[in-house]
């Protein structure tokens, strides 16, 4: 079965801003593919993607928790820390958090799309991957 890959790419902040303005001025549309996340540099990506966050992604993929509370139990970590990590992963586009609509504002974590590999494309054309499937 073909693996579904989330690609991490890198682009300088100035180039990111210039490319958006240039596209708009030329009347071209610029829509980022859903399987792509852009960081400014590899250091920022590696600071964000700690082993604990990779563990969270693996647990979401393989165990499909119903809430952040169940996810925290699955990874055997404190709820507050897992919740903070989930918010960061959502902000950067790795996961989505769907409101469960209960009176505790619980959220169900899910991958942003059904990927099983994160492939980091370094500017030197070298890449490495994190497998997140169980």
């Amino acid at each position: 079965m073909k693996s579904k890959v989330l690609m991490i790419k890198f682009q300088d902040l100035n180039l990111f801003m210039e490319s958006g303005l240039e596209a708009l001025k030329k009347g071209k549309s610029l829509v980022q593919p859903v399987d792509e996340i852009i960081f400014s540099d590899i250091g920022s990506y590696e600071k964000l993607m700690s082993p604990k966050k990779l563990h969270i992604l693996t647990a979401i993929k393989s165990l499909q928790p119903e809430s952040i509370y169940s996810l925290a139990k699955m990874v055997d970590r404190d709820f507050a820390n897992v919740s903070r990590d989930c918010n960061a992963l959502e902000q950067h586009g790795f996961i989505k958090l769907d409101d469960l609509g209960d009176n505790r504002s619980s959220k169900k974590p899910a991958l942003s799309f059904d990927y099983d590999t994160i492939r980091v494309h370094l500017p030197s054309n070298i890449s490495y991957s994190h497998m997140i499937a169980a």
Partner: protein, 104 residues
């Protein structure tokens, strides 16, 4: 209202703390100036639930671009920018993002 066509839809991780989210749609018959609805957000993981630190958009009538300056505490305070053009609004958003990044 007609179909919404994305002109710009991007997310960019500036660093482990800040993320830029850009969304520009052309919506036929929407009543927006040039039929363009846009929002530009700077998210900050250091805020609870990764709430917006900065938001520029034209969602409210009369669809003049405005900047939410009191985020994250005050969702209602906004400064109207005297701009109805999405490119100009994006340029202004970028300059404000640069100011925030330089201050942090």
């Amino acid at each position: 209202m007609g179909k919404a066509v994305p002109l710009l839809k991007r997310r960019y991780s500036v660093n482990e703390r800040f993320t830029i989210v850009e969304d520009i749609l052309r919506i036929e018959g929407s009543g927006f100036p040039g039929e363009i609805k846009a929002s530009f957000v700077l998210l900050d993981t250091s805020l609870p639930k990764a709430r917006p630190r900065l938001l520029v958009d034209n969602t409210d009538y009369p669809h003049e671009y405005h900047m939410h300056t009191g985020l994250p505490e005050d969702k209602y305070s906004k400064v109207f920018l005297g701009i109805f053009d999405h490119v100009e609004a994006l340029e202004l958003f970028y300059s404000e993002v640069r100011r925030i990044l330089n201050e942090e």
